[in-house]
Amino acid sequence: MMAQFLKSRDVMLAGVILLLLVGIGIINPRFVQPGNLVEVFNDSSILIMVALAQMLVILTKCIDLSVSANIALTGMIVAMLNFYYPEIPVAALIAIAIIAGGMLGAINGLFIWKLGIPSIVVTLGTMSVYRGSVFLLSGGAWINAHQMSDAFKAVPRTVILGLPVLGWIGILTVLLIAVFLKMTRLGRSLYAAGGNPTAAVYAGIDVGRSRFYAYTIGGAIAGLAGYLWVSRYAVAYVEIAQGFELDTVAACVIGGISIAGGIGSVVGGVLGALFLGIVKNALPVIHISPFWQMAISGAVIIVAVVINARSERKVGRLILKEAQVHA
């Protein structure tokens, strides 16, 4: 079971991440101290969550370019609610963020399911619509730290057992998605819908409906991330998380999730996001210009794609009777 769970590609990526940490540690030992590593993980939590949201969609042979606009819009909604109605409890605001994000995702899903429009077109459109709505809602104004209640800002920062709640929410999301993909009918349907849509239809799986749910769940995660983003950075404005959707796609690609759908693991998605998070956090520490970050991420994506393409190449078919192992 263990060997299956950690497919060799995931192990390889984990090895690369370890090497990366060793390399950074040689230049700057402070970076690899446990306290800082926890901080790096905490800082990467939002990327991990949203990368997994993106992964749900990519598994079904679709893509969601509107996740970052979803984050900005839900973030602005809860920030403004908190500013104008500070009496609303934070728990309710979090629930609102999740529901609003889920609805934004469901809108994408409905267009793709019911009208059969390609996902890249739908989400390119909703990306602009959602982003524009943030402006309409706020009139272009910022919600700043002093306009947010203390409780609103405190949630992600509260430290439990040495890890801020933000990090714990990241871990919880990872576990829930892992269980969802491994243990539920819908989770299984996502793989089938992306792996071979025609075969899935013949097997009685509604491909469009599976995609709709992938977008809705992914949207709900993005909504939660929207609250976490504005509360952690204690500011909400129109351009929040701009370009972040590409980071989530990059994390998936690095993590071995096939853009063609049907292939990918939670472990891969998490490792891909962690890799990007580490690179982003480490570069300033080892005195490399942040502009290099993009070049490095880009190079890593290409290397990852080449490795994945090689590993997906068939070794040979199993025809020999001797190779048979009866359970």
């Binding site: 299956q4 491994k182 243990m183 539920t184 009918r185 819908l186 299984r188 349907s189 793989y191 089938a192 792996g195 071979n196 025609t198 075969a199 899935a200 239809v201 013949y202 097997a203 009685g204 799986i205 509604d206 096939s258 049907g262 292939i263 068939k314 070794v315 040979g316 078919r317 199993l318 025809i319 009777k321 190779a323 048979q324 192992v325 009866h326 359970a327």
Partner: protein, 506 residues
């Protein structure tokens, strides 16, 4: 008919071609004469397409010679064959919908001017000149997608003629998708090509059109030529017996079962464009064969039974209960499953492991409140893997790494796991090797003897005659006849499938 033309334009002698495990062609001779139409006749799998591919440079023969106008030639590429004067019009037109008529005609051999740029005025003029002979109403600048199927065929023909040196035109079932009127137009074009001295190789399953336009015939069976001559001196029965005339050598592992009560009853099932008035019944433990030419509407009927397409009229009853499957899942729930013909596209999810493929249509049965019971999933998979003698190193192996025969077993196992009452197998042995074929047949028999009702769609006569208890023959979307296996022979089936029942009427 001016049939006695002494000097052949093309002679193929002793052509042989093997693929791993199969001899596709052996000792094949074919002669084509200028200004004459030669019909190539044979069952599916007799080697006609292989021969066409050799003649058009797609395949290289393992042995034999091709002599064109008295000189031995080789066609290492499709382009070489085209340059030498061989043009083919395929059954499914291979053209580009989004390009114009001119662009389609000159794709791959565009005319250029002295600057090396494309010479559109010249190509347009040439297109008009060619079209004047074929169909002057087609504007060279029309996009292909705006033309009907028949006119697309005409464009394909124009493409074949755009190479000035064209001496041989191959037509591979050109009338399969055409209406009556369009077929008449096509005949006229064939006559015109004959008048221009082109040699035409005409591949068809329809005897009426062979007698209408062909001058000569060559019959293939199992990759070998079994007869040729002048059409004027032949008749349908002679051709059919040459085509199928063999004893069924393959021993089919059929277990005789006394069929039980009626399981499936279909009454007057119709679809606006695909089939009409389909009625048949299926009993417990029975294997019902569906025979017909490719495109006779058999798969379409099966897809309607499985809820993929929706019939406009008629009733489907399972064990006396009327069902109206609107989606595959409703059909599966009612006890009907469909193992499709294209197992790659419609069958297996190759990136998923074996166990996830096996349980894909049964997820409802192995889950509670949406959560899967993985232990049960493996138990089911183990059961069917053992039953099907599946060869895999472990059940978590991706299906994409299995051989074709084993992939087929996974697909069949997947459907058996839903515990169906009726299983529809669409061309179950198409494209798999002889050994796996026998295994699939053996398995099919076993299923029937265990009380499962089987519908087997097949275009292979030996398979139909060897395995089915009763046989439904379809032609052009309708049932042409239903026969008991003991009361019918191959010729009778072919006659009904091709619509040549004149002998009975007489």
């Amino acid at each position: 008919m001016n049939a006695a033309s002494p000097k052949p334009v093309l002679e193929m002698r002793g052509i042989a071609k093997s693929f791993p495990g199969v001899k596709a062609l052996e000792g094949v001779d074919l002669t084509l004469y200028p200004g004459q139409v030669t019909a190539l006749i044979g069952e599916n799998g007799a080697g006609k397409s292989t021969l066409v591919k050799i003649l058009t440079g797609v395949y290289q023969p393992d042995g034999g010679t091709i002599v064109l106008d008295g000189t031995p030639v080789l066609f290492p590429t499709a382009e070489a064959a085209m340059d030498a004067g061989v043009s083919a019009i395929h059954q499914e037109t291979v053209l580009f919908d989004e390009l114009s008529v001119v662009e389609n005609i000159f794709v791959g051999h565009q005319l250029t001017n002295r600057f090396g740029l494309l010479d559109w005025p010249a190509m347009r003029a040439r297109t008009r000149a060619i079209m004047a002979n074929i169909d002057p109403d087609i504007d060279p600048d029309t996009r292909l997608k705006d033309l009907g199927i028949a006119r697309k065929h005409l464009v394909a023909i124009a493409r074949a003629l755009s190479v000035e040196a064209t001496k041989i035109v191959i037509m591979d079932e050109p009338t399969a998708a055409l209406s009556y009127k369009e077929v008449e137009d096509l005949y006229e074009i064939v006559e015109r090509l004959k008048g221009q001295g082109k040699a035409i190789l005409f591949i068809s399953h329809k005897f009426e059109e062979i007698f209408r336009i062909a001058d000569r015939y060559t019959v293939f069976r199992d990759g070998k030529p079994v007869g040729d001559g002048l059409v004027a001196e032949a008749d349908t029965n002679k051709l059919i017996s040459m085509m199928v005339g063999r004893t069924v050598e393959h021993i089919f592992p059929k277990i005789e079962v006394a069929p039980g009560g009626t399981v499936l009853e279909v009454q007057g099932l119709s679809h606006p464009t695909e089939f009409a008035d389909i009625s048949f019944s299926l009993r417990k433990g029975e294997i019902l064969g569906f025979y017909g030419l490719v495109g006779a509407g058999r798969s379409e009927v099966m897809q309607a039974l499985f809820g993929v397409t929706h019939p406009s009229a008629g009733t489907i009853r399972i064990e006396g209960k009327t069902i109206q499957p609107r989606t595959p899942i409703q059909a599966i729930d009612a006890g009907i499953v469909y193992v499709p013909e294209e197992r790659g596209r419609q069958g297996a999810v190759t990136a998923l492991p074996i166990f996830q493929n096996i349980t894909l249509p049964s997820l409802a049965r192995i889950s509670r409140h949406g959560f899967l019971d993985l232990a049960k999933e493996f138990e089911i998979t183990r059961h069917y893997a053992a039953r099907l003698d599946l060869r895999a190193s472990n059940l978590s192996q991706d299906v994409g790494t299995l051989s074709g025969g084993n992939q087929q077993k996974v697909v069949i196992g997947k459907w058996l796991a839903t515990e169906p009452k009726v299983i529809i197998l669409d061309e179950p042995t198409k494209g798999i090797d002889v050994g796996s074929k026998s295994a699939v047949h053996g398995f099919m028999s076993e299923l029937a003897s265990q009380g499962l009702s089987v519908i087997m769609v097949s275009s292979e006569l030996p398979e139909i005659l060897g395995m089915a208890d009763r046989i439904v023959v379809m032609r052009e979307g309708r049932i042409a006849g239903t026969f008991d296996r003991s009361a019918v022979d191959a010729e009778e089936l072919v006659r009904h499938a091709t619509g040549n029942t004149a002998k009975e009427a007489a």
